[in-house]
């Protein structure tokens, strides 16, 4: 990652080289180190040092972008020249708006030196700690520990950390993060848990192993259930994974293009009463970038309030065409996708996840879901599979493991069918509670031993 001063200096060099009417630069990338382990041994140990910039030039209504990770003077000249040539060949784009001037951004506290500057030995010590706790419980461990200097989201790579434009706008963000993800195995039974934070001292290997091991330590019985609709308790992680597939329903552009099922539903009930969803980059567990790719200050806003749809999110272009204010969710301009909430907080309760189990006469507990994909993006029908901890609940207790299964589930129905929510947890992507839902559609068995 490069400093605020280095970032500003590179941007200024480009602005001097450019004769475009307007210029905009987005920086992203950083330093990543990751130690990966399987069967209790480190098998991959890697580091990456890289920063990108995207330079966009506008000549009148014509625009184009060039991306590069080479900031030597000759390369900067080539970037500017290539971009000018590409822009001149581009058709005029009526959706191009004048660049913003300097904005006020909220201060966030996302950088912690002890997290960003870990040595390889420190990473190995954390992995060794994982192994120690697994060994105690006779579990085999698989997974990774990583630390990052930059702005990254697990499994998504790096996101932007700075924006600058020829109209005087400059925003810079510095973040660290640490991420531990652990799969455990005892015999043929698996469990999984993860944790991530901007602060290393929040990563507790013993807690992660304990959550991953979860019920497999005492639950030995195998139970048979048939495909069908069941009460299900979805872990926070499962809820977060599913909610990723709801993001487009809040996208202002999708609404404008008749491509969101929430079109025309503002102010109407779209989810169960218990559901309140916010997008809040300033939540203490996020401390996200305070500006979007267009330099618009990010706003914390409520998407769904007690089941009522309250807001969509807008980039500048869509907001302008609809006569509303942008919400600070814009993607790089020009784009064809619109705007998305990426700092989702699904509010929970004071109830412990165990209380959800105790309240269930007959149902399934789902720890992790995998390979979720749209079946029907407009109606938000998805498919996916359970893995690493799927259990039968009978009379308020976990009574055995069940085969993993495929589900085909409408998410609009799922969020209407929520009976209980637990306290929240920071997951890989969002902050979410575990949820107890009715009529979760178990379509077929998956995994091994298919009869």
């Amino acid at each position: 990652m490069i400093t605020r001063e280095e970032t500003k200096a590179i941007a200024d060099k480009i602005f001097k080289l450019s004769d475009a009417d307007e210029s905009e630069i987005i920086f992203w990338g950083g330093n990543l180190a990751l130690t990966r382990f399987s069967e209790d041994r480190i098998h991959q140990n890697v580091a990456e040092n890289n920063v990108w910039l995207t330079y966009r030039a506008a000549y009148g209504k014509k625009t184009a972008k060039v991306i590069s990770n080479n900031f030597e003077d000759e390369s900067l000249k080539a970037i500017v020249s290539e971009c000018k040539s590409a822009a001149k060949h581009s058709p005029e784009y009526d959706g191009l708006l004048p660049l913003l001037s300097q904005q006020e951004y909220k201060k966030v506290n996302a950088f912690h030196e002890s997290t960003a500057e870990m040595s390889p030995e420190q990473r190995a010590d954390i992995v060794e700690d994982v192994m120690k706790h697994c060994k105690k419980e006779k579990l085999h461990a698989f997974g990774f520990f990583s630390n990052i200097l930059g702005n990254a989201r697990p499994q998504e790579g790096f996101r932007h950390f700075a924006v600058a434009n020829s109209n005087g706008l400059f925003g810079y963000y510095k973040a660290s993060s640490a991420h531990l993800s652990v799969t455990v195995r005892r015999g043929s039974r698996f469990g999984w848990a993860q944790t991530n934070s901007t602060r290393l001292d929040k990563i507790k290997p013993e807690d992660v192993v304990s959550r991953a091991a979860g019920n497999i330590l005492f639950c030995k019985d195998k139970k048979d259930i048939k495909p069908g609709k069941y009460n299900a308790i979805l872990s926070s992680q499962a809820v977060s994974t599913l909610f990723m597939f709801m993001l487009n329903t809040f996208n202002g552009l999708a609404v404008q293009e008749n491509n969101s099922i929430f079109q025309g539903k503002l102010g109407k009930k779209v989810m169960a009463d218990k559901i309140t969803i916010k997008d809040d980059p300033y939540h203490p567990d996020f401390q996200g970038v305070p500006f979007d790719y267009e330099g618009v200050p990010r706003k914390a806003l409520t998407l769904v309030n007690n089941g009522i749809l309250e807001n969509f999110v807008y980039d500048r272009r869509t907001a302008s065409s609809l006569g509303v204010q942008p919400t600070g969710h814009g993607e790089p301009v020009p784009n064809q996708i619109g705007a998305f909430p990426y700092h989702v907080v699904i509010e929970g309760s004071n109830t412990l996840p165990d209380e959800l189990i105790k309240s269930t006469d007959h149902g399934i507990l789902i720890n992790r879901i995998w390979y979720v994909r749209f079946i029907d993006a407009f109606n938000v029908n998805v498919t996916g599979l359970t893995r690493a901890g799927t259990y039968l609940i009978e009379n308020g207790k976990i009574t055995g493991t069940v085969r993993d299964f495929r589900f085909n589930q409408n998410l609009i129905e799922l969020f209407k069918n929520v009976d209980m929510v637990s306290a929240v947890r920071k997951t890989g992507n969002f902050i979410a509670p575990a949820m107890k839902v009715r009529n979760f559609n178990f379509s077929s068995y998956s995994g091994l031993d298919e009869k």
Binding site: L32, A33, L34, R36, E39, R41, I42, Q44, N45, V46, A47, E48, N49, A64, K65, V66, I67, S68, N69, I79, C83, A86, A87, H89, S90, P91, Y93, G95, S119, P120, A124, V127, E128, M131, F142, F144, S181, V182, T183, P227, N258, N259, P334, Q336, Y371, V372, R373, F374, F378, N381, T383, L385, R387, R406, N408, S443, S444, Y445, S446, G447
Partner: protein
Amino acid sequence: MKTLLKFGVEEALSHGAVYADMRIIDRRYETLASKNCDSLSSRTNFDRGFGIRVIADHCWGFSSSSKLNKDEIARIAKEAVDIAKSGIKLRRPITLADSKVHNVKWATPYEIDPFNVPKSEKISFLRELDKIMLSVPGIRIAKSIMMFKKEKKYYLSSEGSNIEQEFIISGGGIRAVATSPDDVQVRSYPKGPPGLFQSKGYEFFKQFDFLSNAKRVATEAVQLLEADPCPVDERDIILTNEQLAFQIHESVGHPAELDRVFGFEANWAGFTFLTPEKLDKFRFGSQEVNLVGDATSPYGMGTFAFDDEGIEAQNFHIVKDGIFTGYLSSRETAPMINQNISHGNARASSWKRIPIIRMSNINLLPGKWDFNDLISDTENGILMDTNKSFSIDHFRMNFQFETEMGWEIKSGKIVRMLKNPLYQGITPEFWNSCDGICSEKFWEIGGTINCGKGEPEQIIEVGHGTAPARFRKVKVGLR
């Protein structure tokens, strides 16, 4: 470049590495994406950097940087060795399969350098395609995209190999979206988004009839809004090349990756049901089914001369006459099943990633059927075209796929269009139900540019050659 490579490898050895290799990669991408004729995204991407991989104290270490100068190379070489040494308390023994020493230059053959074709020509073509699709009443969104990649890769190892390769990939596609108040339907050509890609130059765009197909896909997208839904039933299905490529990718290519056997991917991509005791014994598919890992296929996106460990490209059977016979392997994993030769599948998605086992071109070899004869021979079936959704479990057994378009077949004839055609199955049962594969005349190579695997994630291009094939008594429809 050779001087820098040699310097990096020697630096790593000087810090205590017993093995070192270094890759420098210089890439250029061009992406042009048009939407509804009114917005165009023009993006050029320059990506350059290097990675150094070492073995020290019996552990792997890898580091990488985008700053290509001697000071940074020296820093990264030391960092790679330090990283390796940090693993000493949790090391696992590493034995590398044999490797010959190669000093070679190789390049993808192509006719027209896509980066020399004027942008204006490409943009006009895309906007023309948008215009045709939008001319069909009912089309709400029309998208056209072109992408090109040129890559120079320089490799040098402490064992003496020095390999220079140049790759070109070209491709793209079109997509028409039709909407009604309660439905959205899409059709794409020649493949679902982001399109079809091959190791070719700009000549790629001359071989397909995009203009005629723009009208067709737009018309079909609108027709799909009114089409009957796919029934819930058990039917014979015929998969076209593009959907079959996905089927091979998920249910053949990934489970044949040897690193999954040893849990290297357990935390993310998962395991495999193809465990080593099944090698040369397990009936994976019917007698008709022959699948190969072929890194030499012309125009394949997984085509190369050498993998990222300096192992020569190979063509080997994964499944021969229905029996599972081979894994995708690397120098590290082959000895773990007592094989001393890697199949040459270690590739990294970038200079900043370490090589892991990846598919090259995983191809279904052609059979004997004529496509029309296969339709005529089907009593009660569905022809499915263009992937829309894909999902498979972490052992690669239970899969579910959906395509954009289906045509119902009754008594050997196509009788009606079906929307949201979907099928579900279990990998070996499915491949054992294959009873007809079309001939070489219908065989073509495609694949995907965004196969994901690994932590940190690596997205890479892989190829799949297929001809349409029939599978008997498959569960269809949404359950």
